[in-house]
């Protein structure tokens, strides 16, 4: 589904991602963990074409390195950005409509809206409220719901647990798992390594712009280096 080879991203003269390679196969949930500043978000932004990058990014067999950012969602590659990025001055329903901006199949969109409301009933209760009035957790749910409205094949999730209360983190991860169970491929970036590794089938560990470890989720959870560096043991 996604093949990344020797990806380099820099901000001016400072290189943030230094030759990263990884794969995500269809149907997998893969996580990218690492400390603050390791280059995880930068990697996702490069994949979503929000930052210029060198190297190779192949999505479903085609290079997307030079595609404009707005073209990707129509091909099923959708980013839920760090900090959620909901449109605070649009209503919840309008935010969800924005997720389906590239789609024209009205009946299918309506069906997907019902599905999203079924998965996230809080959004239905607040459909006509401005998104800016939602709590952080609800905004995260909205950001995920909005992404689902695009019918993603590959969902990129950037720090969905950031800034949320533990109970809300739990709920967000339940939603992510049920999305994955519906067959959506997921690339998850998280600082909450324990949680990410416990739901992901495979994981990569990033450190200062490079990938230093890769293994299955359970194996990384058991890895002494990971336990020491990221699980606080």
């Amino acid at each position: 589904m996604l093949e990344v080879r020797d990806l380099h991203v820099s901000y001016g003269n400072i290189s943030a991602v230094k030759g990263v390679s990884f794969d995500v196969a269809a149907g997998e949930m893969v996580c990218l963990i690492g400390a603050n500043g390791a280059g995880k978000t930068t990697t996702l932004k490069a994949l979503a074409r929000l930052l210029p990058a060198q190297g190779a990014i192949h999505y479903r067999g085609h290079s997307i390195l030079h595609r404009p950012a707005h073209a990707l969602i129509g091909e099923g590659l959708t980013l839920v950005p760090e900090g959620r990025g909901v449109f605070a001055r649009l209503t919840v329903a309008e935010n969800l409509d924005m997720g389906a901006y590239c789609r024209r199949d009205r009946a299918e969109i309506a069906a997907d809206l019902d599905r999203v409301y079924g998965l996230l009933p809080r959004l239905k209760e607040r459909a006509d409220q401005l998104a800016g009035t939602l709590s952080g957790g609800e905004q995260q749910m909205l950001a995920i719901g909005r992404a689902l409205m695009s019918r993603p094949k590959l969902l990129l999730l950037d720090e969905p647990s950031m800034g949320l209360a533990p109970i809300m983190v739990q709920k967000v991860f339940e939603v992510i798992q049920s999305v994955a169970a519906q067959g959506v491929t997921i690339l998850l970036v998280e600082q909450n390594a324990r949680l990410a590794l416990s739901v992901a089938s495979r994981g990569y560990v990033m450190e200062s712009g490079t990938i230093t470890l890769s293994d299955t989720g359970p194996a990384l959870l058991a890895n002494p280096k990971v336990r020491e560096a990221y699980l606080g043991e």
């Binding site: 449109f87 924005m98 997720g99 800034g163």
Partner: protein, 307 residues
């Protein structure tokens, strides 16, 4: 009392025109964060284009109202093309430049357009041919012409249409999303360049209509009419809260009323020391007051930092 009603009528007419122009400023500001100082010149070119067509057709025997309508329909595409070109040529290359660069460019574009209009249409004042009916009606001792009624109603209808477009359509939703966060709108599949072009096209069409209204109402047009009109409309946009569409409409109408009432009563208030030619002072006095006491405007709200 009749002076009061007369000034209210004049103020509403003037305010409707300000509102149409102010919408152009506020829409562009909402999406690009840019004060498009060339917008007043687009109004001027709309007025002169329409007037040129109207003069050509004035003796054709067509009804005067139809001739003015044709003039307006000719001015709209000309202004839309102009607005589109201004954005592509002058502002787009500076999209990621520091904010001062496009602002200075906007002033430059304004000067260039004014000079081009002067070369093309000359330095003279162009009189609006007397082809429109001068009928009207009396309300409580004041007089309102049919033309003024049409101006107010047409402006109201256009603004209602614009609100529908912005609030109820896919394009409008994309415009609001882009205004709030262009990068995230892009992630949703919105082509930002298309939205920005659409904004300039719509704003310029409104400017064309406003230009015809101004020249018809005051029976005159000239190459530098856009400057002061643009500044007034900008003031109206700031008064309402720049970036806010209903604010631009409210600001426009309020500014028109303030100016008219001010001009109507300034002579009495100052014992004849200052006359109605001090009309322009009011707009800029309002601008100063707003900037000092409520910089976010009447309807502008401080938007909370994004979570």
């Amino acid at each position: 009392m009749d002076t009061f009603i007369q000034q209210i009528i004049n103020g509403l007419v003037l305010g409707s025109i300000y509102a149409l122009v102010a919408l152009g400023y506020t829409m562009v500001y909402g999406i690009l964060g840019l004060i498009n100082f060339a917008h007043g010149e687009v109004v001027m070119i709309g007025a002169l284009t329409a007037l040129t067509v109207i003069k050509l057709l004035a003796d054709s025997g067509l009804p005067g109202t139809l001739v003015v309508l044709i003039g307006m329909l000719a001015a709209i595409p000309v202004c839309m093309a102009l607005g589109f070109t201004i954005e592509r040529v002058a502002y787009r290359p500076l999209r990621n430049a520091p904010r001062l660069a496009p602002l200075i460019t906007a002033i430059g574009v304004s000067i260039v357009l004014q000079q081009l209009a002067m070369i093309f249409w000359g330095r003279n004042y162009h009189a609006f041919p007397p082809i429109l009916p001068t009928t009207g009606r009396d309300i409580g001792g004041a007089h309102i012409t049919d033309l003024q009624i049409v101006i107010v109603l047409l402006a109201a209808a256009i603004m209602a249409g614009l609100m529908l477009l912005v609030n109820k359509t896919r394009l409008g939703r994309a415009m609001r999303a882009t205004a709030e966060n262009p990068q995230i709108a892009g992630l949703m599949g919105v082509n930002i360049n298309v939205i920005i072009s659409a904004t300039f096209l719509i704003g310029s069409a409104l400017a064309a209509v406003a230009g015809v209204m101004v020249s018809a109402n005051y029976s005159i047009a000239h190459y530098h009419m856009g400057f002061i009109l643009g500044l007034k409309a900008f003031t109206a946009a700031v008064l309402g809260g720049i970036g806010n569409l209903p604010g631009a409409m409210l600001g426009g109408v309020l500014l028109g009323l303030i100016e008219s009432l001010g001009a109507g009563y300034i002579g009495d208030l100052t014992g004849g020391f200052l006359g109605s030619h001090y009309q322009d002072v009011f707009a800029f006095f309002v601008l100063i007051l707003v900037l000092v006491f409520r910089p976010s405007g009447l309807m502008g709200e401080k938007v909370a930092e994004r979570a």
